[in-house]
């Protein structure tokens, strides 16, 4: 199957946006990186909205998204993605309003906890819609787990990069930085496990080089370096982004289907059409 770029962009941006919201929740709940939080939530909202718009491009007519929205409770893979997209946007907007109105710390922490849950679920569901029995190379829970790892790694790195841009004190990075490194380790483990399961079907250079090598190993090395030089979090984010693109591209290229009868017939026809 060819790479469906609108869907690749959708899952990468919305997964990263959800994870960014989750990392803001972690920072809020632990009381660190105060200067960064609102900017990170605003950035998460942009990612979620732009990602959502990218998915619309995949449809035959962009206006058709209204039909999908009207049937949002069909609970198909697409519907669950839409629901979680809406939940994440609502939580992000609620956070910004509560922050602007200087809501009590218990309210802010409540929103933060909901943000962590909604954000992590978002990273998972953008991959879960592809788990289907007709696609043997996608039909494993390791695929959405790899998507989750990718989203968390991108979101965590981006949160730390925004912290660096806001010149947060290096002590503020201690907890969030460790959580971001844990996210990269989760990505490494999940992607390695998924890659091992579909090893024979996947583009080895793209997957092991791009997704695992650059996206996880290089990102991890940069993240360790970034603990003393916070601006290096931008390099971590760039590496995680490359890994996220490689993961998704390799998945689409490995989507051969169970039996593609019409392609088989065309391939064996006298004129090959």
């Amino acid at each position: 199957m060819s790479i469906q770029w609108p869907l690749l962009v959708f899952s990468l941006l919305t997964g990263s946006g959800g994870a960014l919201l989750a990392f803001t929740g972690v920072a809020e709940a632990t009381g660190v990186a105060k200067k960064t939080r609102n900017a990170a939530v605003a950035c998460a909202l942009v990612l979620l909205v732009v990602g959502g718009c990218a998915s619309v491009v995949h449809l035959a007519q962009p206006a058709n998204i209204m039909a999908a929205a009207a049937n949002v409770f069909s609970f198909s893979g697409i519907s669950v993605e839409l629901i979680m997209l809406g939940v994440n946007v609502i939580v992000g907007v609620a956070y910004l309003i509560a922050s602007r109105k200087e809501a009590s710390s218990s309210v802010m922490r409540g929103i933060a906890v909901v943000g962590v849950i909604a954000g992590v679920v978002m990273t998972f569901v953008v991959g879960n819609g592809y788990v289907m029995q007709s696609q043997p190379n996608w039909n494993t829970v390791l695929l959405p787990l790899a998507y989750m790892g990718s989203g968390l790694a991108c979101g965590g790195a981006l949160y730390c990069a925004i912290m660096a841009a806001f010149k947060e004190d290096i002590a503020e990075f201690k907890l969030v930085g460790v959580v971001a490194i844990v996210a990269i380790v989760i990505q490494l483990a999940a992607c390695a496990a998924y890659g091992a399961v579909v090893a024979s079907a996947i583009d080895a250079a793209l997957y092991w080089g791009g997704c695992v090598g650059v996206g996880s190993v290089v990102a991890l090395a940069c993240a360790i370096f970034a603990r003393k030089t916070p601006l290096a979090w931008w390099a971590v984010f760039a590496a995680a982004l490359v890994g996220g693109i490689a993961l998704r591209a390799a998945m689409w290229l490995a989507g051969t289907g169970f039996i593609d009868m019409f392609s088989l017939a065309a391939g064996r026809a006298v004129l090959g059409v």
Partner: protein, 198 residues
């Protein structure tokens, strides 16, 4: 009710009449298909070689995966007939059904931007009077249409006759999970060994 096709591969000559009849009856554009014929083989070593032709179209699964993933309910299984259909007014062209179909027998019509597939000529057969164009025009008499839950239907009689002659001659396409494809293929060993995953 479980309306579907029964295709006798012992009789199919791979002439593509079913493909032409389908395109003509349903006005399918050049380059698009709702059914095709897959050559299987030849296999073996001369002079002991064998080959058969496998006509493929929507298998009218009893538990269709295309229906489960459809976000708008455009893909549905008509409970009255058991036929899997697409409501073109509801289809948004997201193509998830094409990814979910285990057999790759759905297409996106790029002119109308909706997904299409074999309907078992529902415009002819919905009221129970007609038969699909591919069945009507099969010059080898290899295609049967009817309700497999009705023992008096042409489809059920063809399956019963095949089973009476050879209990191992009735096949379905391999099922990747619990799709339960309804379409039946008859192929006896005197013609060729059933290859399954072709």
């Amino acid at each position: 009710m479980k309306r579907c096709l029964v295709i006798d591969l012992d009789r199919c000559s791979g002439c593509d009449s079913c493909v032409v009849a389908c395109k003509h009856e349903n006005g399918i554009d050049l380059g698009n298909y709702w059914n095709r014929v897959v050559p299987v083989g030849p296999t073996g070593t001369f002079p002991d070689i064998e080959q058969y032709w496998l006509p493929v179209q929507c298998q009218q699964c009893e538990n269709p995966q295309c229906v489960h993933v459809c976000p708008t309910g455009a893909s549905y299984r008509d409970e009255k007939t058991g036929v899997v259909l697409v409501d073109k007014d509801k289809c948004i062209g997201c193509q998830y059904c094409m990814m979910a179909c285990p057999y790759g027998v759905r297409i996106l019509n790029k002119k109308t931007n909706v997904v299409e597939k074999c309907t078992l000529c529902s415009h002819l057969t919905a009221d129970g009077s007609g038969i699909p164009a591919c069945v009507h025009n099969c010059c080898c008499g290899a295609r049967y249409y009817g309700d497999l839950d009705d023992p008096e239907s042409d489809a059920s009689k063809a399956v019963a006759a095949a089973l009476a002659k050879d209990s191992e001659s009735v096949h379905h396409l391999p099922d990747p999970g619990d799709s339960h494809p309804a379409t039946v293929y008859i192929l006896s060993k005197k013609t060729a060994e059933w290859k399954g995953l072709v």
